[in-house]
């Protein structure tokens, strides 16, 4: 059974196709990087995967079932999501925020707390437990957010630009951590603009890369594929260069909106 499977999924909003016949699948434990220009439909794909939007046509299966037919708790047992905009407006502590991610479990407060502490320790953020999330650096906030995903105990992590607005050191640390969580057996769907950063997750040879443009899958290949630089260049409409046989496409980093 796949962790996530989309078959010819079309999502429309106000007469415009945000996703246009997208077919994509992700096996348990697999790493899929989803790249594409702004407005390509990357976030919409995640929202469709979680059943937040109803496809006009096509089928979505989250671990075998239509996510829209699942209860909230069943859905949360199959996939966790770190949205790009998840601003915490109140000064809850890191521990409280991670504890809240245990919503799907019917358990005592003590159990929630233990699981949250373990998750924070796992991302080396145990010392942040009592700090208000609003006062943490961007990198620390992402670590706490990843701890919340660990606490949720879902086998699929969906990350939307997890290193956005972070300084380089924090970007690298975030991707390292994502790589670790992947190698522990979780499937990862990671939306990003920046393929270079993905290298810090490690084990690039096993990563898949799919390009999304105008709501369509432009390519679906591996990080190791010889043709990847050219496909990336085409996708973003820029010139790229590859070095040392690695996917390095220097010119695309920094190509944003």
């Amino acid at each position: 059974m796949t962790a996530l499977n989309l078959t010819a999924v079309t999502v429309t909003a106000r007469g415009r196709a945000l996703l246009d016949g997208v077919s994509l699948s992700l096996a348990p434990g697999e790493f899929l990087a989803l790249i594409g220009p702004n407005g390509a439909g990357k976030t919409t794909l995640i929202r469709a995967a979680l059943g937040m939007v109803k496809p006009a046509s096509g089928k979505v299966h989250l671990a075998g079932d239509d996510p829209r037919a699942l209860s909230g708790r069943e859905r949360a047992a199959r996939a966790a999501w770190l949205p790009q905009t998840g601003a915490v407006i109140e000064a809850v502590s890191a521990l409280e925020l991670v504890e809240a991610a245990r919503f799907r479990f019917n358990e005592s407060r003590a159990t929630s707390r233990e699981a949250a502490q373990a998750a924070l320790a796992r991302v080396r953020a145990g010392a942040l437990a009592a700090r208000p999330v609003t006062q943490l650096s961007g990198g620390e906030q992402q670590r706490v957010a990843l701890a919340a995903m660990i606490a949720q105990q879902a086998p699929l992590l969906m990350l939307d630009e997890p290193a956005n607005h972070l300084d380089p050191a924090q970007q690298i640390a975030t991707y390292r951590l994502i790589g670790e969580l992947w190698r522990e057996g979780r499937a990862v769907l990671c939306v990003t603009h920046d393929l270079n950063l993905l290298r810090h997750a490690g084990d690039c040879a096993r990563m898949r890369v799919a390009g999304l443009a105008d709501g369509r899958v432009a390519f679906d290949t591996t990080m190791a594929a010889a043709a990847l630089p050219d496909r990336v260049a085409e996708l973003f409409g820029v010139r790229v260069s590859a070095r040392d046989g690695v996917i390095l496409a220097e010119d695309i980093s920094g190509v944003g909106p």
Binding site: E90, A91, A100, F103, R109
Partner: protein
């Protein structure tokens, strides 16, 4: 933390227990009657109304993702007031029995609930659209509150003398003067509303991390939002139907509690209930003692305390 929780509880309890005796009592039989038939039911009413309004305020802050959201700032109170006024003024004219006739609290509450929902739902829709900035929701609340206020004034203009007097006194926000009847009619609304809202604690805590994240953590966000809004409106409507619009309690109390105890809803919701009960009892006591011989309606006191607090919060928020 535990010490602060205990302190707020003790403070609330002390105010509640002491206030029936505060200000002295006449001697003898009359004093006993005043205590049992006037003071105690009135304090109990303050406890229930203050608790409900504060708990609803704490929940509204979460579902609107806005620290300034409260029944009185997002239009719920105004809508309930308009609905209840229609029942008060038009009820007797239509032969349904007005509040003055002493039979129609359920009718008034129903009308207040309808008014609260009609006004709250569009504002909730604005908040839920995700495109609204923090203060857009409050501006929408102000707009509908003004509209509802104008309609309410128009309604009072058309009322006859007796209905007008009832309506004016009522719309200042006051705790009923005599007996336990209103209290007994309010409880069947207040208890289920509070129980329901307290059961939402975990979902509301998850919502603090953002609506989308809460959704992926298993919270049925639209449902939680709609039910919390609906039950909150019901609680506010029942309070408004009995006591009129008592403004700002639902705004001020959750803020005091958050400042003292932090934003974790597991603490903030029950403690808003407790602190709100003590707060309104204290305000009512203040209204009774400030002008000897003349009682200020409690709504005047809460507004006098609440309006500056709101301004302070806005100024502080815009600086942050």
């Amino acid at each position: 933390m535990k010490a602060r929780v205990a302190m707020l509880c003790v403070l609330s309890a002390a105010v509640i227990v002491a206030s029936p005796w505060a200000g002295g009592l006449p001697d003898g039989e009359l004093g006993h009657w005043v205590l049992v038939e006037l003071r105690i039911p009135r304090v109990l009413m303050a406890v229930v109304v203050g608790g409900v309004l504060s708990l609803v305020g704490a929940c509204f802050q979460t579902i609107f993702a806005n620290p300034l959201a409260a029944p009185s700032t997002v239009g719920t109170t105004a809508g309930a007031t308009l609905g209840a006024l229609m029942a008060l003024v038009l009820g007797p004219a239509l032969g349904l029995g007005g509040y003055a006739a002493g039979v129609s609290l359920p009718l008034t509450a129903l009308a207040a609930f309808a008014g609260a929902l009609v006004v709250s739902l569009p504002i909730a829709a604005v908040a839920a659209s995700g495109r609204a900035r923090v203060n857009d929701v409050l501006l929408a609340g102000v707009a509908v509150s003004l509209a509802a206020g104008a309609l309410a004034t128009g309604l009072q203009y058309t009322a006859d003398q007796a209905a007008l007097q009832t309506a004016v006194l009522w719309s200042l926000g006051h705790l009923p003067q005599v007996g336990y009847r209103d209290l007994l009619m309010l409880l069947p609304f207040a208890v289920p509303v509070c129980a329901f809202l307290l059961l939402q604690t975990r979902a509301l805590n998850a919502l603090l991390g953002g609506e989308q994240r809460a959704f992926s953590q298993g919270v049925d966000v639209p449902r939680v939002r709609a039910l919390t809004l609906g039950m909150g409106a019901l609680g506010v409507a029942a309070c408004v139907a009995v006591c009129g619009p008592i403004a700002f309690v639902g705004l001020v109390v959750p803020h005091i509690v958050r400042l003292a105890l932090g934003p974790n809803r597991r603490v903030m919701l029950p403690m808003s209930l407790v602190t709100g009960a003590g707060f309104l009892a204290a305000c009512d006591l203040g209204g009774r003692l400030i002008l000897p011989g003349r009682e200020l309606p409690v709504g005047v006191i809460t507004a006098a305390l609440g309006a500056p607090t709101l301004v302070w919060l806005i100024v502080r928020g815009s600086r942050a």
